[in-house]
């Protein structure tokens, strides 16, 4: 009998001891996603160690990106103004539409290859990708919502509690996690499969106008639109006259430095055929009007870029060849990649037929 008693005592002690074993994250095993750096590209600047990519994080991030409840009136999601068929710009819009019929003051840029980007917005005011969604969510002329309200809407949704648990291990919903999850989605928007990329990889070859255009591009454009990102991520004044209705001073707003007056981030030219209109405020509706600006209409002022002091000399022939080359930067596999389409519309990511030129 003593044996049985001792066994029982031991059993109870072991049982109590198991109480100290932490079981919290026992079943939390998100599936990791490997971030692939396209051959020949530089190392990304985003610190993945602080936000390791997972399938679950991507699913949550995509859900948030396409959820219009993140706006005050429930009309606008991130995806409303960042449309996949326009390489995640606002397709065919100079400015985007926000809460209460408001317009933005700048053109929504395409979203891709963000892991290589250190600063965000046309003026580079935002220093971390996780922080970026805060700006459009809270801007009065965009989604016009408060962070308190966004988090409480998400917390009251059973589906989101499950998605947060799957991505982060528990149901806590805070802005840090919203930002990280969104980054998980945004970081995976990599566009590296255009005809240009295929030519670089030796899988395709340029036709003559494309080849001539590439050579002209390397002579006249790569000073700012450096390969392979097609931007050097600097801020430059390209001679766009100041629009007095908004008086947007660009980079100067962030640095407070007079020398940064009217400077804006050099945009990537990847998918450029799809991201019209052009310029920080979308004032150029076609590539042709951009070329006309560079060769004729530029206003050269004190902060105008040194490379453009004499404007940009371009012949009609060169414009034709450059256009042919720029079209090789369209990455149709990215534009139609069903992984990035809104949840439930994975087979419907095709662009509209009326592609402008």
């Amino acid at each position: 009998m003593k044996l049985a008693k001792n066994t029982w005592v031991m059993f109870v002690i072991v049982l109590i001891a198991t109480g100290w074993i932490t079981v919290d994250n026992r079943y939390f095993k998100p599936r990791p996603v490997k971030f692939i750096i396209p051959p020949g590209w530089p190392q990304p600047v985003y610190d993945f160690s602080k936000n390791p990519l997972t399938e679950e994080g991507f699913v949550l991030g995509k859900q948030l990106f396409y959820d219009s409840r993140l706006s005050k009136d429930g009309n606008f999601s991130c995806g409303s103004c960042h449309q996949q068929f326009g390489a995640f710009n606002t397709y065919d819009h100079n400015l985007s539409h926000g809460f209460n019929n408001a317009l933005t003051t700048r053109n929504a840029p395409g979203l891709f290859n963000l892991a290589w980007q250190k600063e965000f917005m046309w003026d580079g005011g935002i220093n971390h990708l996780d922080l970026q969604p805060l700006a459009p969510i809270t801007a009065e002329n965009e989604m016009a919502e408060t962070l308190e309200s966004v988090t409480s809407k998400l917390r009251s949704d059973n589906q989101y509690r499950k998605l947060f648990k799957a991505a982060f291990g528990d149901e806590t919903i805070n802005y840090q996690r919203i930002g990280k999850a969104m980054s998980q989605f945004l970081l995976q928007l990599v566009s590296s499969n255009s005809k240009y990329d295929k030519v670089m990889r030796g899988e395709a070859s340029f036709i003559l106008p494309e080849q001539l255009g590439y050579e002209i591009f390397q002579k006249k454009c790569t000073g700012c639109h450096a390969e392979p990102m097609f931007t050097d991520f600097t801020y430059r004044n390209t001679g766009l006259p100041l629009d007095l209705s908004v008086s947007d001073m660009g980079r100067m707003k962030i640095t407070g430095d007079k020398n940064d007056s009217l400077k804006f981030k050099v945009p990537s030219l990847r998918n450029v055929a799809m991201t019209f209109p052009y310029g920080h405020d979308g004032r150029f509706f076609s590539l042709l009007s951009v070329f006309e600006h560079y060769r004729k209409n530029m206003v050269v002022g004190p902060t105008t870029d040194v490379l453009l002091q004499k404007k940009l000399i371009l012949s009609n022939f060169e414009i034709g060849q450059l256009t042919a080359f720029l079209y090789t930067l369209t990455d149709s596999t990215f534009l139609k990649d069903s992984r990035f389409a809104p949840p439930g519309f994975e087979n419907n990511a095709n662009p509209p037929a009326d592609i402008h030129q």
Binding site: I13, I126, N127, L134, K180
Partner: protein
């Protein structure tokens, strides 16, 4: 069986007691808790939000909001030994009484001075989204120009030319040449070196006449990293003092 039970109990006892030893080993220096009570005054009188008062420049004002970050605490003992405390960030908010009492764990029985950063260090300004006191929800983060607002003073004054006669000072900026964080070092009065509770007073008049004059008439608004923000930070860096007696 008896032997097995005995051995089992012994192992259990040893593991439990050794855990205790490890903990003792970690805490060789005696730690104690020190409560810091922040109190806010306007011309020596207790600050009351939403109540008319006069600043040191003779301007009639009503203060509606007063909050600031304190972080990166360190203490100096009688031998001049400086100990950095674990990284902690506190948002002191006049409107939230709880936020004005903070508790630090400090080494040693007696300390000579206490040092902290008024604001949030640059590392936390470039590390994405934070939680707790640093959560962007607290309204102390600029979304359009990433970075924390280190200190905020808002209210109305009839002399303000801004809309609604508001004056709003949101002081931030962490980059070189625009850094608005300020290191604050406060000596403890002789009587207080062993105290478990210290009251730190912040005098709001120092915003207006700490090192230079800040007239609401001339400058009712500061909302971005700038030379003005630096000047205001210099002013309010002089606002703290430790009360000698209780």
């Amino acid at each position: 069986m008896k032997t097995i039970f005995f051995i089992f109990t012994c192992v259990l006892l040893i593991s439990v007691t050794s855990m205790g030893f490890i903990r003792d080993g970690d805490n060789k220096i005696q730690q104690r808790q020190l409560a810091l009570i922040f109190q806010h005054t306007m011309g020596g009188d207790k600050l009351v939000l939403g109540t008319p008062c006069k600043n040191i420049l003779g301007e009639n004002i009503i203060i509606e909001k007063f909050k600031y970050y304190v972080s990166n605490f360190s203490v100096t003992d009688n031998n001049g030994q400086i100990t950095k405390l674990p990284a902690q960030y506190f948002l002191i908010d006049e409107a939230d009484p709880l936020s004005k009492n903070i508790i630090l764990t400090i080494p040693g029985a007696s300390i000579k001075s206490i040092c902290f950063l008024l604001g949030v260090d640059s590392i936390k300004n470039v590390s994405g989204v934070q939680t707790g006191a640093l959560d962007p929800l607290n309204g102390m983060f600029w979304t359009w120009n990433s970075g924390y607002i280190m200190a905020k003073l808002e209210g109305t004054s009839e002399v303000s030319a801004a809309q609604g006669h508001y004056f709003t000072y949101h002081i931030g900026g962490f980059k070189n040449g625009m850094n608005t964080t300020r290191m604050i070092s406060l000596e403890l009065p002789e009587k207080e070196v062993r105290a478990n509770q210290i009251t730190i007073t912040a005098e709001i008049n120092q915003w207006f006449k700490g090192k230079s004059e800040l007239k609401i008439t001339e400058t009712p608004v500061c909302h971005s990293p700038s030379a003005l923000a630096m000047r205001i930070a210099d002013n309010y860096s002089t606002m703290f003092s430790i009360n000698a007696a209780h």
